[in-house]
Amino acid sequence: MESTKPGAIEAVLRKICVISNYFAGVVLAFLVIVLVADVFGRFIDHPVLGSYEIVQYGFGLVVCLSVAHASMASGHISIDLLFGAFPKSVQRALVMFSEILSIPMFALIVWRLTADGAQAYKISERSTTLGIPVWIFQFALALGFALLATVITLQFIKSLGGRE
């Protein structure tokens, strides 16, 4: 029972990451449309109003929706040169050390993004041209990094149990 729990959680987490990555693709497609419409629009003096802000905040959404899946699917860019020379037990300890450092760091980022989002909500901070509420994107990014922190935590639990 104990050993199946991380597996079940991982399956759910994987599904969430995959679905959110699809949404990231949809948002990216939307940004392409906005940018191209803006380029063509400028030639006929009808640029897309607020295209800069749409792309700016939209790109934040792309990052938050894909960051956890990128970590799960491809793994973050790291260097294998010396690590590969260590015995398996040392490698496992080093991976756990790296995860122990990363988890609180991302938890801190989630907390700060949430706190900044709450502050932006309180003062009704909005973008200058379209009046887009900024807090939505701060909370969204907090959620994306929370998902990433969860992925790393799960990897840590698996390392703790001696599983790859």
């Binding site: 990555n21 699809y22 990231a24 693709g25 990216l28 497609a29 940004l31 392409v32 940018l35 191209v36 803006d38 380029v39 400028r42 800069y52 792309v55 700016q56 905040y57 939209g58 790109f59 934040g60 792309v62 990052v63 938050c64 929706l65 894909s66 960051v67 899946h69 990128a70 970590s71 699917a73 491809s74 793994g75 973050h76 860019i77 790291s78 260097i79 294998d80 040169l81 010396l82 690590f83 490698q91 080093l94 991976v95 050390f97 790296s98 450092l101 990363s102 760091m105 801190l108 980022i109 907390w111 700060r112 993004l113 706190a115 900044d116 994107f137 701060q138 990014l141 990094f145």
Partner: protein
Amino acid sequence: MSPIIIGVIGFAILFFLILVAKIPIGFGMIVVGFLGTVYLTSADAAIGFLGHQVFATAANYDMAMVAMFILMGELAFNIGMGEKAFASILKWCGRMPGSLAMASIGASAAFAAVCGSSPATAATIGSMALPEMKKYGYDDSLATGCIAAGGTLGILIPPSLGFILFGLLTEQSIAKLYLAGILPGILLTALFMITCSIVARTKPAKFAPPKVSMREKIVSLGGLLEILILFAIVIGGLGFGLFTPTAAGAVGVFGALVISLIKRTFTWDKLIRAFIKSTQTTALIITIFIGAMIFNYFLAASTLTFEMGKIVAGLPVPPILTIAAILVMWLILGCIMDATGMIVLTVPVVYPIVVALGYSPIWFAVLGVLMIEAGLISPPVGMNVYIIGGIAKDVPLGTIFRGIVPFMVAICVCVVIIMAFPRIALFLPGAM
């Protein structure tokens, strides 16, 4: 302890974390940058900065260009633009010694004009050219070496992820950086082709490709035309200031889609695959970039880079020797690090030195990208070599690395020429 010493210690810890503990580069930079900033300023300031910087880097119009150009390259890869370029150049290279290897280099250069990724260029051209070269009895080391080397043109000829990262880190114009890469890209392509021709004379192929009529040659140009049109629209529009770099990337995506629709190579499956892969690659790069921004803040607080710039500029050695020393350092780092990590880790440190010495940052970026190219084919971590190794499974990695040596010499010759004649890199940015 002085802030500079803290900066040095921070660097040492970061190198330990990424080289020994294998912590992802971006994560390592966030951790060390944050803790270093806590030490040098205050916990409150560092925590406040952390949230602000993550949001400012992720929700950023300029950063969106990373996604746009990656997507453009992915689409070009998925709709088979490289295949037609290879077929066309092959017909024009004729039956001279090493013609297939030269065609592979030419096709790599052509594909690089729509794709900013070196491994993607190597994989695209490699999957087509390697079986052809095998068929005509090419030496394994020449066949694999030229494809791995040709792939590196992906980050020199615009659009280029290397130049995007340089530009974002040093606040240099992406348009100027892109234009600066064109002539050195053509020069390196020519040097690679000459290398192929020389090596092929010492290791001749068993068979020559069949003769091709002039009519066939002219018809085949259609395969290059679509790349040329897309390149002209994206880089031309950017160079003439018609749109921003981010919009240029989006126009490139749109153009690639239109071409795939006209050529009937479009499928929903390919489109979805390109979008999903692009968002993932982008997220990985943005995470590294968030780390770079936090680490750079710490470095700035430590005044390490500023002081280093002053010290190096004051050294009683010719400035060009300092540049050469930086390039050698990059060559060595390129052997152990991937291109993105190397750029974000070292550019903030060496950039103030280059500026203090009075050199053009654009020229320096071109030299930097050339060194990254060398790193991509250097043992033991040369990424392109492993990609080619994955395609040519029967060729030992040692043979590929042996085949790369002449192309490494060509890159070094290119670096020396551009150091001696900076106008090769600076002419186009200055003319626009």
